[in-house]
Symmetry: C2
Subunit: 427 residues, 2 copies
Amino acid sequence: MKVTRLSSGISIRRTIADGTGQQVAAVKEIIQDVRDNGDQAMFRYAEKWDGAKLSSLRVTEEEIAQAVERFDRQLLEDLTEAAANIRRYHDSQQQKGYQLDHDDGSYLAQRVTAIESAGLYVPGGTAAYPSSVLMNVIPAQVAGVSRIVLISPPGKDGTLSDGVLASAHILGITEVYKSGGAQAIAALAYGTQSIAPVDKITGPGNIFVALAKRQVNGDVAIDMIAGPSEIAIIADDSAYADEVAADLLSQAEHDPMASAVLLTTSEKLADAVSKEIERQLASLPREAIASPAMKNHGMIYLGETIEELITAANQLAPEHLEIMTEDAEAVAEKIRHAGAIFIGRFSSEPIGDYFAGTNHVLPTNSTARFSSALSVYDFIKRTSIIRYSEQAWQNNKEKIARLARLEGLEGHARAVESRSWEKGNQS
Amino acid sequence: MKVTRLSSGISIRRTIADGTGQQVAAVKEIIQDVRDNGDQAMFRYAEKWDGAKLSSLRVTEEEIAQAVERFDRQLLEDLTEAAANIRRYHDSQQQKGYQLDHDDGSYLAQRVTAIESAGLYVPGGTAAYPSSVLMNVIPAQVAGVSRIVLISPPGKDGTLSDGVLASAHILGITEVYKSGGAQAIAALAYGTQSIAPVDKITGPGNIFVALAKRQVNGDVAIDMIAGPSEIAIIADDSAYADEVAADLLSQAEHDPMASAVLLTTSEKLADAVSKEIERQLASLPREAIASPAMKNHGMIYLGETIEELITAANQLAPEHLEIMTEDAEAVAEKIRHAGAIFIGRFSSEPIGDYFAGTNHVLPTNSTARFSSALSVYDFIKRTSIIRYSEQAWQNNKEKIARLARLEGLEGHARAVESRSWEKGNQS
C-alpha cells in the first residue's frame, strides 16, 4: 500500500457519474421509449437486457410468499432485528411544523407533510442487497409516505432475489415490480399502464440508472447520485493493524473504484497495515475487486500529529470515517465533514452498513461538506402558511408597497393596496 | 381571460430550464475558462457582457458605505424590519441533533452542523432585488454558515445597485463580488485568485445562470432551479374581483412565462375578474410583460364545488396559492401540495414576497409535490455517529457477519470478526 507524508499534501478524488455522450443519448432514448410505449417497452427491455420473458411487471403476493418461505429463518430474524434498529434511529428524525401567532391576529406557519409516493430502485444480480431495501424504505415509512414501490431487474427466470422480496415482506411492502436500468427509472418517473408514477426515486444503480435519475430529476425528486464507496481511518499506535486492514478492505471489496485511506501518526502501524492488507487480500473472495481498489485508490498518509490527521480527514470529507485512537471521542468532536463517523475499534464500518440503525446511504465524493445521509427529511416537504389579519395588513401595507416599488414591481404594490380600493357591487 | 370548466380537466404546465445545446456548450466553455484562467477570465467577461472595466472583483467597504449613504432612509428601515420578520420565522427552523444511548454502552447520534460557506447570486439590472438578498442570506445566517458571499453583475459603471448593497449592509455581509452569469457561478464553485470557492450556491438568475448551476451541481450544492412564477387562487362569491385580479397580475408582471390561475365556483366572479384584469392591465407599468403572461398562461377554471377546486389546486401544486373563500382556513387544511398558502383576502401574495417573514424562494413547476421553500434546513448537514461498545459488538457480531455474507461481502464479515482475531504484537 502506498505510504506518503501528509506534509506533502493530500489528494482529493472526485468521481462524478457523468457518463459518455453515447450513454446519455441512449438513456434519453430509453426514457422517451417508455414514455411513448409504456409496458410494451418495459417488456421489450426486460427480454433484451435481462433475458426475461415477462407476462406481467408486478410481483404477485404469491411470489413474495414463496420467496419468504424459501428464505433462511435465521437471516429473516437478523433482517427483522436490523429493521427494528433502523426504525428506532430514524424515528427521532420525525419533524413537526410550527406556528407563530402575532398580536395583530395574523400568523405564520410551517406545515410538514410526507411526500405521497416513493420508488426504490434495487439493483439486480450480486448487488441485490436486502440491506438497501431496509435503508431506503424505512426512512420513507417513518416519514409517512403512503405509497412505497420497489423495482428491481428480474433474473433470466423472471424472478427477483428471495432476499429482496423477504426484506420487502418484513417491511410490509407489497407493490414490487420487475424491471431494471434506465427503463425502470423512466417508469417510476412517468408511469406506464401497470406502474403509477412516484414523486421521489431513491436507490443505487449502475451508470445507466444514475444517468436516468439525473435526466428525470426535476420532474420527480431523486436522492443523491452515489459515487464509489469510501473509507478513511484515523489511527494511532493504539490501533490493531489487522483490524484497520480488514476495515479498509471491507470498503475496497465493493468496487475497483472504491477508495480506502489510512491517516496515521504511527509508522509502525503503517508498515503493519501494509503487510496485513497483502496477507488478507490473498484469501479474500472478492480479491479481484479489492486489489485494484487498494492499488489505485488506497493510500496511507503519515502525519506528525493527530491534529494533522483531523485536518486531512476534514479535507477528504469521506463517506465513512473510523477513528481508532486514544480518546477517539475527542478526535470525533473535531471532525467537521464526514458522512458517518465510527468511534473506537468496536465500531467497524459494516456494523453501520447492516445493523446499528444509522443509514448506510451516505454522501460520497467529498459532498459530506454539504450533504447528509438519507433520512426521514428526504421524504417530507414543508408548506409555508401566511394568514394576515386586517390589522396586520393595515399596519404594514405601506411598507410592503414601498418595497415592491423599490423593485419596480408596481403590480405587487397595487395588489396589497387593492384591499382598500372602493368596492362597487362588482362581485 | 380564458374561462373553462374544471370538469373538462386541468392543464399542468412544466417549464424546466434545459437550455439549447448551444447554450449548454457555451456555459461549459465559460466554466472551463474560469477554472483555467481565474480572475483574468472574470475581468474579460465583465467587460464583454457587463460593459464594465474592473480593476477588482471585490466590492470595497467604502463602496458599501457610500451606497448605504445614498439609499433612502425609509426604505432602509423597511428592509430592516422585513429582515427581522424573516429572521424570526426562520429561527424556528433551527435543528438540533440527537443521541440514542443503549444499555450495552453503545450509542448512535445525529450531529447537525452548518455548511461552512454559501454564495448567493443576485441578478443585475431591474431584477436586482434587495428582497432576494434577505430571503437567501437570512436562512444561511440562522443555520450558522460562517462565510456568506454575494455576487452580482456590475453596471457599465462597475458598481452594484444601492439596494443590494444596502441589504448586504443590513445583514452584515461584507464579502461581495462584481460578476454575473455563468462565470459568477463558476467562480463560486471552483474559486479564482480573488474569490474562494463556496460549498453551496443559491439565488435566481437567467438561463445561463441556471445552466451553470446545473453543471456545477455535485461539485457544490445548489438550491432548486426556479421556473417562472406561479399563482393560483381559490375563490368563491365572497371574494372581490378587483383584489383577485390585482393578485393574479402581481405574479404575471414578473415574467411573460409566469402563470396565473383562478379556481372558482362563481361564474359572476369569473366574469368580473376577466373585466378587472383588462381594466388593471391598461395602467400597469409592466403591462408588456403581464399581458402575454395572462394571455398565454392565465386561466380561469370554473368548478361545481369547492372540493373540486381543492382537487385541482392539489393537481397544480402551485408555487403560491391564495384562498379567498368563506372559511378559508378549512379549505387550507385540505391543500396537500403548494409552496406557500395565503389564507384570506388580507394575505395578498406580495406580503410574503417582501415582509411577512416566510421565504419567497419557493418550488415551481409542480415540484411542491416533493420540494419546499428555501429554509435553514438547506444550509445544514447531518453526520451519523456510531459508537459501538465491546458488549454491543459481542451481542451482534454474528448477526452482522451473517447479513454481510448473505450479500456476498465476505470482507465485511471478516472486518467485524477481526476484533476477535488472535493479536500478535503486530502494532
